[in-house]
Symmetry: C3
Subunit: 433 residues, 3 copies
C-alpha cells in the first residue's frame, strides 16, 4: 500500500499567505505531518509515502517527510489525474491511498478507509447536513454508482460528499484507466472514476461524519486552528514557571522554554509554541501562537493564528492571521468588526468574496513590520516584507515589499498657550481617593 499525497498544486487564493497550505503548523507541526503521523500510527512506514510535489516545495517536503519516502515533481499543476500520473514510476501495482493534504479531518477517516475490506476502490464520503458545493455520491446497494458534482441545494442525491481520501487497490490498473481517459478536457480523474464505475468496478463508500474542512482561502486557517485547539483537553506546561498572579486555563498547551510574566491570563483553548515570552497583563484566548514569539506588555490576542518569531507590544490582535517574523509597535490595533456589523468581504482576483465572518482582523504575510499606534481595518491583507508607518490607518490591501506611511498633514506654530499648573491640585484629588 502506498500513500499518495497530492502536494503539487498552487493555492493562489491563499494570498498573501504561503501557497502550500499543508505546511501551516498546528500544535507544533506542519499539517502534512499530522496526516503522516496518523498514518504511521496505523502501521504505515516512511517508505510507504509518495509525494507529488512542485519544483518549489520539494526540498521543504523532503526535509519534513524524510529521505525514505518517495517524491515526484509535477512541473505545472494540471489536476489530480496528472498528479497521480506524475508518480507513475514510483507505483508498482500495489494499492494506493490518494490524499489531498490540504483537507483536514479526524484520524478516524484514515482508519475507517484502511480497514475497509470490500470494494475495488473506496471513497471517503463526508456526511453533510446542509448543502455543500462538492461531489455527491450516488449509492445503490452499497456501491457508488456515480458522483454528481454540485447538484445545487435541495437537489442533493445523497448526504455523502466525496472527500479526496481515495483508496484504489491496484495502482497499475487505475493508472491504465487514467491514461486512457481523454485528457484535453478537465476533470480527468473524476471522469476516470465515472468510467470505471460504469465498467462495473466495485466502488465503495466509507461514511464519515467527523470534522472535515478544506483550506482554500486564508481565513479557513481559523477553522483548522479551531479544530486543533478544540482537541486540547488537558493543560501541558512543560515545566515552565507560572507566576502566582498569572492564570492559565486547563485547555492550554505551552511548549518548553516560555517565560510567563505577572498577571498574564491565557484562556483556553490556546496553544503557545516554544521559547515564547508572554509579557505582563497580556491576555491570550482561543489563539494559536508559534515559536519564539514575544507577546509584550498589555497585549490581547484573541482568536488569532500567529506564526513564529512575532513581536507584539500593547496591541489588540483579534481574529487575525499573522505570518512569521512580524512585529507590531505599541498601540497598533487590528480592527476586526465593521461598523455596520456585516460580514467582512475580501477581494480575490477582483472578485468580492464573502468570508462569512463578521469578525475578521487582518491577514498578514511573513516579515511585516507595523508601526506604533497603527490601525489595520477588518479583512485587510498585507503582503510579505511590507512596512506600515506609525499612526497609519490601513484601509486597503498592501502588496508585498511596500512601505506605507503618513504624508505630512501637520501644522507647526509657536506655542502661545498660557500654561497653568494644576498638578498639585490634581495630585491631591488622586491621593484623596
Amino acid at each position: 500500500m502506498k500513500i499518495l499525497f497530492l502536494c503539487g498544486g498552487i493555492g493562489k487564493r491563499m494570498y498573501p499567505l504561503g501557497e502550500d497550505k499543508f505546511l501551516f503548523k498546528f500544535i507544533g507541526k506542519e499539517l502534512i505531518l499530522h496526516h503522516i503521523d496518523h498514518l504511521k500510527e496505523l502501521g504505515l512506514k516512511e517508505e510507504d509515502f509518495v509525494f507529488v510535489c512542485n519544483p518549489v516545495n520539494i526540498e521543504k517536503l523532503k526535509q519534513l517527510c524524510g529521505e525514505d519516502a518517495e517524491y515526484a515533481v509535477q512541473n505545472k499543476p494540471k489536476g489530480m489525474a496528472d498528479a497521480v500520473l506524475t508518480a507513475k514510476d514510483l507505483l508498482h501495482g500495489e494499492g494506493i491511498l490518494i490524499v489531498n493534504p490540504n483537507d483536514v479531518f479526524e484520524p478516524s477517516a484514515f482508519e475507517k478507509i484502511l480497514k475497509k475490506k470490500e470494494g475495488y476502490s473506496v471513497i471517503l464520503g463526508h456526511k453533510v447536513d446542509k448543502y455543500f458545493p462538492g461531489g455527491y455520491l450516488i449509492i445503490e446497494e452499497e456501491k457508488i454508482k456515480s458522483i454528481h458534482e454540485k447538484p445545487g441545494e435541495g437537489k442533493e442525491p445523497s448526504n455523502l460528499v466525496n472527500i479526496v481520501v481515495h483508496l484504489h487497490r491496484n495502482s497499475d490498473e487505475f493508472i491504465k484507466y487514467l491514461e486512457r481517459t481523454e485528457s484535453e478536457q478537465d476533470d480527468v480523474y473524476e471522469r476516470t472514476m465515472d468510467q470505471m464505475m460504469k465498467d462495473g468496478f466495485d466502488f465503495r463508500v466509507v461514511e464519515y461524519d467527523g470534522f472535515w474542512t478544506a483550506i482554500k482561502y486564508p481565513w479557513h486557517i481559523f477553522n483548522v486552528m479551531d479544530y486543533f485547539l478544540k482537541k486540547i483537553d488537558t493543560q501541558v506546561l512543560n515545566g515552565i514557571k507560572v507566576p502566582e498572579s498569572a492564570k492559565i486555563e486547563e485547555n492550554v498547551i505551552i511548549e518548553a522554554g516560555a517565560k510567563i510574566f505577572e498577571n498574564v491570563v491565557i484562556k483556553g483553548p490556546a496553544y503557545i509554541g516554544k521559547n515564547c515570552v508572554i509579557g505582563n497583563n497580556s491576555l491570550i484566548r482561543g489563539s494559536h501562537i508559534g515559536d519564539r514569539c514575544v507577546v509584550g506588555y498589555s497585549t490581547e490576542i484573541k482568536h488569532a493564528y500567529i506564526g513564529d518569531d512575532c513581536w507584539f507590544h500593547t496591541n489588540y490582535i483579534g481574529d487575525s492571521i499573522i505570518g512569521n517574523g512580524c512585529s507590531f509597535g505599541s498601540g497598533a490595533v487590528t480592527a476586526n468588526f465593521r461598523f455596520d456589523e456585516k460580514n467582512i468581504p475580501v477581494k480575490i482576483e477582483n472578485v468580492q468574496i464573502d468570508t462569512e465572518l463578521d469578525k475578521l482582523g487582518c491577514i498578514m504575510a511573513n516579515n511585516c513590520k507595523v508601526g506604533v499606534n497603527t490601525s489595520i481595518m477588518p479583512g485587510v491583507r498585507i503582503g510579505a516584507n511590507s512596512i506600515i508607518g506609525a499612526g497609519t490607518v490601513v484601509t486597503r490591501d498592501l502588496e508585498p515589499n511596500k512601505f506605507l506611511f503618513l504624508k505630512g498633514g501637520q501644522i507647526l506654530k509657536e506655542n502661545r498657550m498660557e500654561l497653568r499648573d494644576k498638578k498639585k491640585e490634581r495630585m491631591d484629588r488622586i491621593t484623596r481617593g
Copy 2:
C-alpha cells in the same frame, strides 16, 4: 392630595442627549421613578400622581409610571402656569404638590413639605451659601412676602432659593388665580404667586439644606450621578462571582448577571447595571454604567456616565457621558483635560458656555460608533447615530447621523529598507531579565 409632575418641557440645552432629563437612569431606575418611589414611601399611591407630558414622552411615561396615574398633554411647552392649567380637568379642589422632576434633591425635601401643617401654600426653600441665579424668598414673620428673581451676587435678600416643590392646598382656587393672571407676558406662574402673596395668602417656606441640583446642561448629569453614587455605602454584588484577582471596593453595586474577569478593579463609588461583562484588567472608578455593557480588555472608565448596551475595548473613557448602544474600538480615547488646564467650554446655540469643569471628556448621544485609535477632544458633543472612523482626532462637535473619517494623506512606496533581524539578540536581552 395630587402630585403634579411637570414633564412637558423640552430641554434643548441638553443636546446631544435626550431632552427628558427625568428619564435618565440612575442606580437602575429613571430619575422620575426615584421621585415617585420616595413619595410612595410617604404614603402616596399611583392614582395620586398627575403627569403633564408632551406628545412625545407620554407613552414612555405611562409605561414607566403606570396606568392608574393620570396624564395630561401640553402640546407646546409654554411655561409652568400653562402646564398646571393643562392638568386642570384632572384636579378637583384637593391639595396639589407641584414638582419639577428635573430637579434632584434628597427625599427629606418631600417629607418636610408634606408634613408642614401651616400655610396656604408651601415652598421648598433651598439654603445656599453662595450666590445662585434663582428666585430668592423674602420672608417676614415666617411668611414669604415675595420672591426676588436673580437679585445679583451680594444683593441676595435671604439665603433661601425657590425650588419647584410647591404645595398649594386648594387646586381650584390656585387654578382660578392662574387663569386670572395676564398671560401675554412670561412668568405667569410666578406672577400668580406674587399676586396671591399680596392678596394675603399665607405662603410658607420649608427650609432645606440638603443636596439640590437642576439638570440644565448635559454635564449636570455628573452632579446627579455623583449624588446617587455617594449614597452607595455597602457592597451589593447580587451573587455574582468575583475572581480572586479582581478587587471590588465596598461602595460598589453590581446588578445581577455580571461577568467579572481577572484583575478587574472597581473603585467605589460605582454602579454597574444588569448583565454587564467587565473584561480583564479593566478599571472602573467613580462611574455609573448601564445594563448589558461590555467593558472590554484593559479599559479604564473614570468618572463617566455610560448608558445601556455600550461596548468598550482597550479605551480610556474619562469624565464623559455616553448614550445607549455606543461602541468604542480598541485604542479609542476621550481626552478630558486641556493642555492649558483651563475649564472646558461648550458652545450651545452659538454661545460659549463655561462648564466650570477642567476635566470633561466627550458627551455622546445614543448609537454612536467610534473606530479604533480614535481621539475625542475635551467637551466634544457627538449627535446620535454618528460614526467616527479609525484614527480620527475629533476636535469639533458632530451632528447626528454623520460619518467622520480620515481623508487619505498616506504615501505608498517600495520598501527599500535593509531589514536586519536582531530578534534573537533582543530575545536574549528579555530572557536575561
Copy 3:
C-alpha cells in the same frame, strides 16, 4: 586641600536638556552632590569646596552646595586653565583636587587619589580595554612623562586614559605655571602640565579600573542612570503600602509618600522618587523616576529617565529621557526601535551622530505636553515648553515653545450605513466563554 569643581562650562550638545549635566538628579540628589558626599565621607568639609560657576548656575549651586563653600564666576567658558585661574583668589598655596563634575565614577577614585602619597601631581588614569578617544598617559618608571591626545585606535601608548580628577600639591606654583603658558592657543591646561612634566615635576598616576563615564550627549544619561540603578541591591520602601496584587522586586527604591495601586509591577533595578502615584497595572522596569510623578493606569516605563512632576496615562515610554513637568495623554507612545533595527542617529549642529543605541525613544525637555494617541519616533528631541497635539506622529525634532498639531485631513459625510445590532448575539458569544 581644596576641591575645585569645574562647573562653568556650557554643554550645548546636551540640547534639549539642561546644560548643567551635574545637576541631573540620581537616586534623589544631583550628580554634584554625589561627588560632594563621597568627598565628605573622606573627611572633606563644606569650606574645602571651591566651585567655578557661570553667571547662570551660581545661585543654584550655592543653594545646593552651601554658603560655607566658595564660588568663583567664569563669565564665559574658556577652558580648564581659565576656570582654574578664575578661582585663583580663593586658593592660597594649598593642594588642589580639580574635578570635572560631569564625569561619573566610583567613590573609590577619590579615595585612591587622596591617599596617594607620592608625586607632586597625581592624575586619575582610567584603565581601558578598548580604544577611547581621550588623552593616554605615557608612563616611565612610575612617572607620567607625557599625555598623548587621541592617538588613534591601535596606536595607544598605554591602557590608561586621563580623567579630570587631578591633584596638584601646591596651588600657587601650579597657577604660576598656568599663567606663564601661552594662552592664545587651546589646551592651556594640558600644555601647562606637559611643560611641568618636561621641567621634571613628579607626575604620578592612580590607576582606576572601576566605572567611568562622561556626560556629553543627552543619551549618556542612560549610562549614568544604569550605573546608579545597578548599585541598588536592597529594597527600600520607606514604609509605603504595597497592595497584595502588586509586585516590587528586591532591587527597587521607592521614596516616601508613594501610592502604589493594584497589579503594579516594578522590576528592578528601579528608583521612584517622593510622593509618586503608580496607577493600576503599570509596569516599571530599569527606570529612574523623579518626585511627584503620576504613572497612570496601564503605563509601561522601560529603561527611561523621568524628571519630577511628570504625568503618564496609558503610555509606553521606552528608552527615553523626559524632563520635569511633562505630561502624556492616554495612548501616547514613544517608539524606540527602527524598522531597519539600525542604531538611532541624532542630528546635532547639523552633524548626524550615531548614538550607538538601537533602542532609543525620545529626549524631551521640561514642561512639554503630549496629546492622546500621539506617536513620537525614535531619537526625536522635543524642546522645552512644547506641545504636541492629539494623534500626531512626530518624526522630527521640535524646537522649544512650539505647538505641533494635525491639519484637517478629514471627511464629513452623512452616515448612510445600514446599522445592524448583533450585540445580543455577540454578548452570548462572550458569556458562553
